[in-house]
Each structure stands twice: as structure tokens, then as C-alpha cells.
């Protein structure tokens, strides 16, 4: 078995190098926040006067190796005071550090974290953005609801299809090409209320990392990006209550130590008020969401720690009494951190996630459910071989169940017949090894290789088509039609319908020009085996996921990126410039007028196409001082092309390239926050984007008593440019220092100058005049908000 060999090889590689460490010793340990015991991810541990350093992993663990001698260890993390400790290295050391948050009050000396940004310069990792929960909370948002997905859209290279639309798009990729992870669990729909809000409760989140490219080999399964969201572990020192009351929702979270300081827990809940959006029509409509985050951990001993985390979220919509709808994600993850020795760290995860969409049509006496579920085992290891070499390796296996749709009549008199679409099953696994190697003091490389394997499992029938063509171009009418079925093949549950495997190399290198400047380059290949079926401009919660198989091939992406990184003025400022070029093969697209819901033979509605995107991103950041923020600018292009292939004919849009719906030529965001004094702080956003590509009518005619519009080439027109300014102010009232209750008021105005940004323009006929007209839909005008947050 090749996998076995592969892992054997990687293990022996590690073992072979252990014996070489003569006169060298290892310092390892954990970095936590002194205030709440939360582990710190991405903190820099550095031996002063040397080039030896390490960065903590997701669990706060670090390991570095140096020759024996006396050193001064500096531990720094942005926003925290640098910890310094003198050590004599004459044997392996275990050193844990607790960092203290740097105060930003005016009359105090602003602590400059000496080395915290330097790591960015040295590490080959590029195309990554990290936001801490605190940063996200400072960004002004609509209706005062802190939103991670909206925050990442302020970063270069990230867009979405418009206000109130679900998901996000990274470097020209589609919304289903993002791997969204909440504590490693796959989240299939990242939005609440059709995209107005995100599923992540900022009170429960520690930090967010977005990989736009250079995706590390340990991640796989999506071709465009990885959004790695980590929940807080829970305060292990004190019991703490956090909450907030806002105009759209309220939230409450509790955290604290449990089991004699051996563990901690976090429980956070959030709910919106109903009847908010949909009171326009006469009908009694309502829409609301709620979610629950849970996390707990238990330290067995210094080398073993268990984590259990869970998420449950739900959206409910009622349109009158006759139509009910709901959707939500559920996920859970049990993790076991095990430190084999001071150089080898491991984590085993058992993960479950589920997404379902339900409809109840009382008017027609039937209901509908569609679902995707997966069970996932991951085993990840990090081996900190020496100050020059660090290895990450592991494996991952996922079992999927897809229920593309099930209809059940809900009464005896229902006119609907029960229907169960073919249930689909699949298995995916990945095996990876990546090595970060410091070739010289200036040049560091990461070489990663992931081998992914996907098997579409049997247990369902498949239609056989004449000439193997499920979709055929009708030359006479000039349209695509369903192919001719010639039979049905039944696959047993023990059969495998189709297997795929891919090697996914990931390469990155960083060349440090001087202490403050580096250039980086990277190449990554990624494969994606499951696809979101969506032929609407925006992703809707109804869209269903489909596995690769006989008719749908895995998406394969190649991305090349090159970047320039520079820190200025004692690292108060940073500049990041990146250029990327990305291609995605086997991107499915939908023939004109395709009907995807309740469709058992999706293959008759789709063609295989490709996607390409390229762009240049600038990010100028100020991360220290009273004023912090960033300016992001992206110039880019994202296009799709879908030729006819074996179906014949010219393909979609005549086989020509057309703009993807999330293409934005120019995308500028300016985000800043300013701390005036201990009572007041302010935030502002300015956003400008080229209008979204849309399909406008190029003519009309009279037919069946109505004016029928004829639409031009796909996405050939554009909406007007999108822009707005948001502001916020946070007020912390005077309080006695001994008082435990801490409160703050957050006032915000979204879309300050009340611009009616078009979310869409629809074309129709006026009922009173019969004349054609274009109707602009603007989601948010000026939206003031106020919320009160408290901590106890």
C-alpha cells in the first residue's frame, strides 16, 4: 500500500535525523495568555542575537533547537508585551510562557513587540491573512453584528457577489471552492439569513486565518482557499460572562475553568429577533437564526490534552403560515493533543459535520429535505527537527453521505408523490508531508506534497447514455438537451463507481533581502472532489453538494504567486504586494435554463469548463499605535469558459470567456480604528468596488401578452460601482477598577451617506403602464445601530 510506505518514509526521515543533534538541545513549551489561559497561535519565540526562532502552532506549542550556551529568549505576539527570559541551555528545556496584553492607553508607553512581525518576513508562507477576534470586533458592521465573513472581504483578493449574498470569493474562485473550517469541522454554509450574517459568533472565536493561496499541504479538498476559524478554548483562570444586546440579535457566552484547573469550557449562544426583515408584505413573515458554540478541554498531563468542540446553528423562515423553511450546520470535533517528545507534536481529530436544508410547503402538503454529512478522521504531526528543518505530516480520511433531496407528502390528500433522489456516498483521503527548510539564513523553502484520493462509492443506480453523452447539443434548435438514456447500471454498496487520485505539490520559498524585506514565491496545486450545484448568481441555501463521479470530474487548480513583503519604521507599518495567476480545470457550469432542484440526473444539465483568475494585491497595514488599520487594493480579473466538449456545440456563452459573477476589476478597502482615550475609540471603513458583472437584456419582443426580454451574452454588462463608508464609536463608561462588571456601548452607522448600492437590477414590465423598466434592489441604505456589550 503506497500510503503506508509514504508514511513510513516520512517517519524514518524524522528518526534518521534525531541522532545528529549533538551538543544541541531543544526548548519547547506552550504560550498562553496570562489573562485567560488561552493558547496563543502564531506567537514568535526567538533567541536574541541569533537567527533561531519558532512560531507557535494552533495549540500554542513551540519547539526550537540550538547549540548549548546562554541565551535570552524573546516571546512576542502582536498586541502583547514581549516576554524575555534568560536561559542556560545545557539540556532539553520545557518553558511555558504567559503573555500579557499590551495596553494601548495614551499615557502609557506603547510596547513595541520586537520580533512579532519578523516571522512574516522569514516564513515562506504567503497569501495568508490572519485576523484576531479583537481586530474583527473593531470593524464597523451592519446592524452592529460582528461578522467574520464580512471582515475578510476587506482584505485584498476577497470579494463576494454582493450585499446580502452568502459566502465569499477568493482570488476569483467560486464560493464553493473555499474550505471553511470551524475548529477543523467543515462548514458547508457560512451564512445566516441568506447571507446577511455569518455563522461565526465573534465571542466564541479566537482567531481566523485565511489562506488565499500557498495552501499548506495539510489542507485539501477545496481549490481556492482555506478559512481556518478557531474557537476559544475558554478562560482557564476565571469564570467570565460575555454578552451583548444589539438591534438584530443578542448573545451570551460563559467560560471558565473546570475540574480543578485541569480544563476549561466555553459556551456561547446567539439569537436574532424574528419578524425583522420580512414585514413588508401583508403576510406574517418571519426570519431568524440562532446558534450555539461549545468548547471544552481537559489537560490529562503535560503531554496529553483533550478538546471537545461543537457548533449548532439554525435559520428559520416562515412565509405566512403556508411555507416554512430552515437550514443549518451541525458539527463536532473531539481532539487529542499528544506531545511525543519536545520535538514531536501530534493531534488526532474525530470530526463530524452536517448541513441540511428543509422546506415545508403547507400550501401543497409536502416537505423537502436535502443534506450533506461527513465523518472525518485527521491525524497531524509536527516534527521540529532542528532550527533549519521542520516537518509536518499526517493523514485525513472523510466519509460522505449526500442526500440531494427527499420529498414527502404531508397529508393524505397531497397531490405530491414521495420522491427520494439517489443517495450518494463517497470516501476521500489525503496523505501529506511538508518540510520547511532553511537553506541559508536568507533563503527558506517549504516543500509540501499531498496525495489525495477520492472514491465515489456505489449503492445507487446510474443512467447509461447513448455514446456516453448525458447531454447533447441539438444542432437544429441550437440548445443543449438531455442525452438519450439507454439503460441503468445498479451499483452495490460494495462497488466503487469511480476512483480519482491526485498528487498535489505545494512549493513556497522566501528570500530575505534584509531584516525588514523579503520576496516570496509559491506554487500550489489543489484538487476538489465535491461541488456545489448552483446556477443562480448568488449561492442560496437550497443549493446541494454533489460528489465527483462518472460525469463530474474533480476540479484541479494551479496557482502561482509572487510577493514582496516589507516592514517599516520598527515594524509599525507593513507592506505586502502579491501577484497571482490561478487556473481551475473541470469547473462545471450549467446550460441555459438548467433545473437543478429535485434533479436526479444532474449530468444532463451541466458542462465541464474552466476558470482562470489573475490579479495584483496591495496591502498596507499599520498594526501598532493608537491608530491601526489597513488599506487594501486589488486589481484582478476572473473569467470562466465552458466549451461544448463531448456534448458538441459551441458550449455556454458560445464557448467564449465570460466574467465570473464575483469579478471586480478594482477593489479598494480602507479600514481603520483609533483609540482616543480610555473611554472612546472609533472605527471606519471605506469601500469601493467595480460593479458586479451582470447579464442585461439586449432586446425585447411581445409574446403571449407579455414583453419578453432577450438577454445578451453572459455577464457582459456591469452594475454601477459599489461604494460606502461605515463608522463606529465605542464608549466605555467610567467604572471603578474593582468592579467586575465591564460594559461598553458600540454605536455604528453603516453606509453613512446612504448610497443606494445596487445589489441587483431586474428587468420587467410595469403593471400599471405596461412599459418596460429596470428596477434596482438596494439591500442596505443608511443603517444606524447601537449595541451594548458586557463582560462579567
Amino acid at each position: 500500500m503506497t500510503y503506508f510506505k509514504f508514511i513510513c518514509l516520512s517517519l524514518s526521515l524524522c528518526l534518521a535525523t534525531v541522532s545528529m543533534a549533538q551538543n544541541k538541545f531543544t526548548i519547547s513549551g506552550k504560550i498562553t495568555d496570562v489573562a485567560n489561559g488561552e493558547t496563543v497561535f502564531g506567537a514568535s519565540v526567538f533567541l536574541k542575537g541569533t537567527r533561531i526562532g519558532a512560531v507557535t502552532n494552533e495549540y500554542g506549542f513551540y519547539s526550537l533547537t540550538a547549540t548549548e550556551g546562554d541565551y535570552e529568549i524573546l516571546v512576542s505576539y502582536i498586541g502583547y508585551a514581549t516576554a524575555v527570559q534568560a536561559v542556560t541551555l545545557s539540556g532539553n528545556l520545557n518553558l511555558n510562557f504567559e503573555l500579557e496584553e499590551a495596553s494601548t492607553a495614551l499615557d502609557e508607553v506603547v510596547v513595541v513587540a520586537e520580533e512579532s512581525e519578523q516571522v512574516n518576513i522569514k516564513s515562506p508562507q504567503m497569501s495568508v491573512s490572519k485576523l484576531k477576534s479583537e481586530t474583527i470586533k473593531k470593524i464597523p458592521v451592519v446592524l452592529g453584528e460582528v461578522d467574520i465573513i464580512k471582515s475578510i472581504q476587506l482584505l485584498p483578493g476577497v470579494t463576494n457577489t454582493g450585499e446580502g449574498s452568502a459566502g465569499f470569493n477568493v482570488r476569483g474562485g467560486a464560493a464553493d471552492q473555499n474550505l471553511v473550517l470551524l475548529d477543523e469541522s467543515i462548514i458547508y454554509n457560512s451564512s445566516h439569513l441568506f447571507g446577511f450574517f455569518s455563522v461565526f459568533n465573534a465571542d466564541a472565536i479566537k482567531d481566523v486565518k485565511l489562506y488565499k493561496g500557498g495552501i499548506p499541504a495539510r489542507f485539501g479538498g477545496r481549490v481556492s482557499s482555506v478559512l481556518d476559524v478557531r474557537q476559544k478554548d475558554g478562560n482557564s483562570k476565571n469564570f467570565e460572562l460575555n454578552g451583548g444586546i444589539g438591534v438584530i440579535s443578542s448573545r451570551l457566552s460563559a467560560e471558565g475553568p473546570v475540574l480543578k484547573d485541569k480544563g476549561s469550557f466555553l459556551i456561547a449562544g446567539r439569537g436574532s429577533y424574528a419578524h425583522l426583515f420580512l414585514n413588508a408584505a401583508n403576510v406574517e413573515n418571519s426570519a431568524f437564526f440562532y446558534d450555539l458554540n461549545l468548547k471544552t478541554n481537559y489537560t490529562i498531563n503535560a503531554k496529553n490534552k483533550l478538546y471537545l468542540s461543537g457548533y449548532f446553528g439554525r435559520d428559520e423562515f416562515n412565509f405566512g403560515a403556508n411555507f416554512l423553511s430552515g437550514y443549518g450546520n451541525t458539527s463536532g470535533n473531539l481532539r487529542w493533543n499528544h506531545i511525543y517528545n519536545d520535538k514531536l507534536f501530534s493531534n488526532l481529530s474525530l470530526i463530524f459535520s452536517n448541513y441540511d436544508y428543509q422546506l415545508d410547503f403547507k400550501a401543497f402538503d409536502f416537505d423537502w429535505i436535502s443534506e450533506i454529512r461527513n465523518y472525518n478522521i485527521k491525524y497531524d504531526l509536527s516534527y521540529f527537527k532542528s532550527d533549519k528543518l521542520k516537518l509536518n505530516f499526517g493523514l485525513n480520511a472523510i466519509y460522505y453521505n449526500f442526500n440531494p433531496g427527499e420529498i414527502n407528502p404531508t397529508s393524505e390528500t397531497s397531490s405530491i408523490n414521495p420522491l427520494l433522489l439517489d443517495q450518494k456516498r463517497a470516501f476521500e483521503n489525503g496523505l501529506y508531508l511538508s518540510a520547511e527548510y532553511k537553506i541559508t539564513d536568507q533563503l527558506t523553502t517549504t516543500f509540501g506534497l499531498r496525495h489525495s484520493y477520492f472514491s465515489r462509492l456505489g449503492g445507487q443506480p446510474l443512467v447509461d447514455y447513448q455514446d456516453g453523452r448525458p447531454i447533447v447539443y441539438n444542432e437544429t434548435l441550437g440548445i443543449y438537451e438531455e442525452g438519450t438514456p439507454i439503460g441503468i447500471t445498479n451499483f452495490d454498496t460494495s462497488d466503487r463507481i469511480e476512483d480519482f487520485s491526485n498528487f498535489e505539490p505545494r512549493l513556497a520559498m522566501a528570500y530575505q533581502l534584509n531584516e525588514n524585506t523579503s520576496v516570496k514565491a509559491g506554487y500550489s496545486r489543489t484538487a476538489q472532489y465535491i461541488h456545489l450545484l448552483s446556477n443562480t448568481v448568488s449561492v442560496t441555501p437550497l443549493d446541494v453538494w454533489a460528489p465527483s463521479g462518472r460525469f463530474i470530474k474533480p476540479q484541479l487548480s494551479d496557482q502561482y504567486a509572487i510577493g514582496y513583503f516589507r516592514n517599516f519604521k520598527d515594524k509599525w507599518y507593513a507592506l505586502e504586494v502579491e501577484a497571482y495567476y490561478k487556473t481551475v480545470a473541470n469547473r462545471i457550469d450549467y446550460v441555459d435554463g438548467s433545473d437543478l432542484i429535485g434533479q436526479n440526473t444532474i449530468e444532463t444539465e451541466i458542462l465541464n469548463g474552466e476558470l482562470r483568475a489573475y490579479g495584483l494585491e496591495f496591502l498596507f497595514k499599520k498594526s501598532k499605535g493608537d491608530f491601526t488599520g489597513w488599506l487594501a487594493y486589488t486589481i484582478s480579473k476572473a473569467e470562466q469558459r465552458t466549451p461544448g466538449g463531448i456534448a458538441g456545440g459551441p458550449g455556454i456563452n458560445n464557448g467564449d470567456w465570460y466574467y465570473a459573477a464575483h469579478d471586480r476589476t478594482h477593489d479598494i478597502s480602507l479600514t481603520g480604528s483609533y483609540t482616543l482615550n480610555t473611554k472612546w475609540s472609533f472605527g471606519a471603513n471605506l469601500i469601493y468596488q467595480t460593479g458586479r458583472p451582470v447579464t442585461f437584456p439586449d432586446g425585447q419582443y411581445s409574446y403571449e401578452g407579455i414583453n419578453v426580454a432577450n438577454f445578451s451574452d453572459r455577464n457582459a454588462s456591469r452594475l454601477t460601482a459599489y461604494h460606502r463608508i461605515d463608522i463606529s464609536a465605542t464608549y466605555v463608561p467610567n467604572r471603578r477598577p474593582d468592579k467586575k462588571w465591564k460594559g461598553e456601548w458600540v454605536f455604528g452607522i453603516y453606509n453613512l451617506y446612504n448610497r443606494r448600492n445596487a445589489a441587483s437590477i431586474s428587468f420587467g414590465q410595469n403593471r400599471e403602464t405596461g412599459a418596460n423598466e429596470a428596477t434596482r434592489t438596494a439591500i442596505f441604505g443608511i443603517v444606524p445601530s447601537v449595541s451594548y456589550n458586557f463582560k462579567f
Binding site: F319, N417, T476, A661, S760, A774, R776
Partner: protein, 281 residues
């Protein structure tokens, strides 16, 4: 009722709730095409001899459609089994008519049009429809439990694929409401289709009240026509909204034999139709 139609309704409801206004937009302009509205509809219980076909041209989206009638074309329909030809004579106002048409269910017919030196052609089969079983009014049906609506019940023939097309038009309205449904999820059952209006001041829609008259046409249509008209309706109702399907150029069945690129808009359909009207009480 297809889920797709329901999805559309849900989405429309969502869109309705945000703020909308009418704006000036520049749209592309394609050269005009011939538009064929060749709807050979045979009313159940009649002889179906009198038929007419309307020809016009397409025009820029924000232009007036009144003067787009096409005259001077030659229009004929052929029964492909008997080769009997029915010539539709030019009325001079865009209409081409005959009073000698001989409709036969499940029979394929061919339409030929000569216009400006190019020949257009289409083929379709005449599709039957079942009778309306019951016509009633209620408030409970539909999305709005308060609004008055008309319910049409009919029995779908089992074990065969059927496609239906409805045209509802309240007297006094400028244009009709259209609905196309397959029996994909409802084969062999008694189907209820309702038509109600939800009040919307912006759109100028008023709920039905006693005394309102609705004209209802219920057609049996072919699968191919269903695919065409379903997309047409979807685009008419939701063209451009972000949750709607990406709009596309609509192609009917009228091909241009002389110059295939210059195909005609519209469709040559042959249906059996039940026409009725309902007066709200």
C-alpha cells in the same frame, strides 16, 4: 408544482422586502430578429378551424413595441402525415389567419415562413389536455391565507409525462400571469393550482375582491415547449435578481434554414386548451 417555481416565489418574497426603485440603465442593443408567435390552440369541444399566427420583430428593450408588426411574409402550416397545407393569409396587421385548419391530436405539423428572402421552419406535435375538474375560490390556499384566490383542480393521467401551461388574466389587467408545470412530482394525482394576488402597492397589485373576473386558459403542452416557456416565465418574473438563474438568450423552435444564425424568437406550438373564466363571489 415544481420546486423551482416555489424557489422562485420564495426568492421573490425576499427581494420584495428590500428597497427597490426604478432606475435608468443603459442596456446593449442587438439587431432585430423575427418573432414568431405561432400558437395553434385548439379549444376543447370546438372544431379549431380558425387559427392565427402573429409575426413581429424584436426591438431595443426600452423601446415601444407597437410598431413592430411584420407584414408581407408568407406563412403556412403542413400536416406532416397527410402533407395537407394550411395557408395563413396576411391580415396586414402582423396577424396571419386561416379558417380551414384541421387539428389532430398527437399529430406533428410543420410551420414554414418566408420573410425577407429567408425561410424559417419549425415542427411541433399537438398535445392534448385533460378537463378542469373543479373551479372554486378560497382564502386558505396559496401563500397568503387572507387573500382570495381561485383554485383549479384536474386529474393528471397516470404513468405518462404531462406538461401544463396556464394563463391567468384578470379583466382589466395589462398583461397575464403565466405558469408552466410538469407532472414530475405529481404523476397520476389530482392537482390543485391556485391563482391569488398578494397586495403590493409599489407594484400596483390588488387582491381579488368579489366581482373580479379572471380568464383562465389551461393548455396541454409538449416537453420541449415546457422547457422553453418555463424559462421564459422565470426570466420574465425574475430577470436579473441575484437568486434567480443566470438569464440567457431564449431559443424557441423556429430555425432559419437560409441563415441559421438569424434564428427567430418565439415558438410554434400546438396545444389543446380549456378556456374558462371565474367570477369571484
Amino acid at each position: 408544482m415544481t420546486l423551482r417555481i416555489l424557489k422562485r416565489l420564495v426568492i421573490l418574497l425576499l427581494i420584495v422586502t428590500s428597497c427597490t426603485d426604478v432606475v435608468d440603465v443603459e442596456v446593449p442593443e442587438a439587431p432585430p430578429r423575427l418573432v414568431v408567435e405561432a400558437s395553434i390552440d385548439w379549444e376543447k369541444g370546438t372544431r379549431g378551424n380558425a387559427q392565427s399566427i402573429r409575426l413581429s420583430t424584436s426591438a431595443p428593450f426600452f423601446s415601444n413595441l407597437e410598431d413592430t408588426s411584420v407584414t408581407g411574409a408568407s406563412v403556412r402550416v403542413t400536416n406532416t402525415a397527410t402533407n395537407e397545407i394550411f395557408v395563413f393569409s396576411d391580415e396586414g396587421n402582423g396577424l396571419y389567419s386561416t379558417i380551414t385548419f384541421d387539428p389532430v391530436l398527437n399529430q406533428t405539423y410543420r410551420l414554414d415562413i418566408d420573410y425577407q428572402g429567408e425561410t424559417y421552419s419549425a415542427e411541433e406535435t399537438m398535445t392534448s389536455v385533460v378537463a378542469i375538474d373543479a373551479l372554486s375560490q378560497s382564502r386558505e390556499s396559496g401563500f397568503d391565507n387572507e387573500a382570495l384566490g381561485v383554485d383549479i383542480a384536474f386529474n393528471d393521467p397516470p404513468n405518462e409525462e404531462n406538461f401544463y401551461f396556464f394563463r391567468f388574466e384578470e379583466e382589466g389587467d395589462l398583461f397575464p400571469e403565466l405558469l408552466a408545470i410538469p407532472d414530475e412530482f405529481t404523476d397520476g394525482n389530482r392537482l390543485d393550482v391556485f391563482f391569488e394576488k398578494e397586495e403590493d402597492e409599489d407594484e400596483g397589485i390588488e387582491e381579488f375582491v368579489a366581482g373580479d373576473i379572471v380568464n383562465i386558459k389551461f393548455y396541454g403542452i409538449s416537453e420541449q415547449y415546457f422547457n422553453y416557456v418555463d424559462l421564459l416565465i422565470e426570466q420574465f418574473e425574475g430577470g436579473g435578481n441575484p437568486f434567480g438563474t443566470v438569464p440567457a438568450s431564449l431559443k424557441g423552435n423556429c430555425i432559419n434554414l437560409t441563415n441559421p444564425e438569424n434564428y427567430a424568437f418565439g415558438y410554434f406550438r400546438l396545444t389543446e386548451v380549456v378556456c374558462t373564466s371565474y367570477v369571484f363571489e
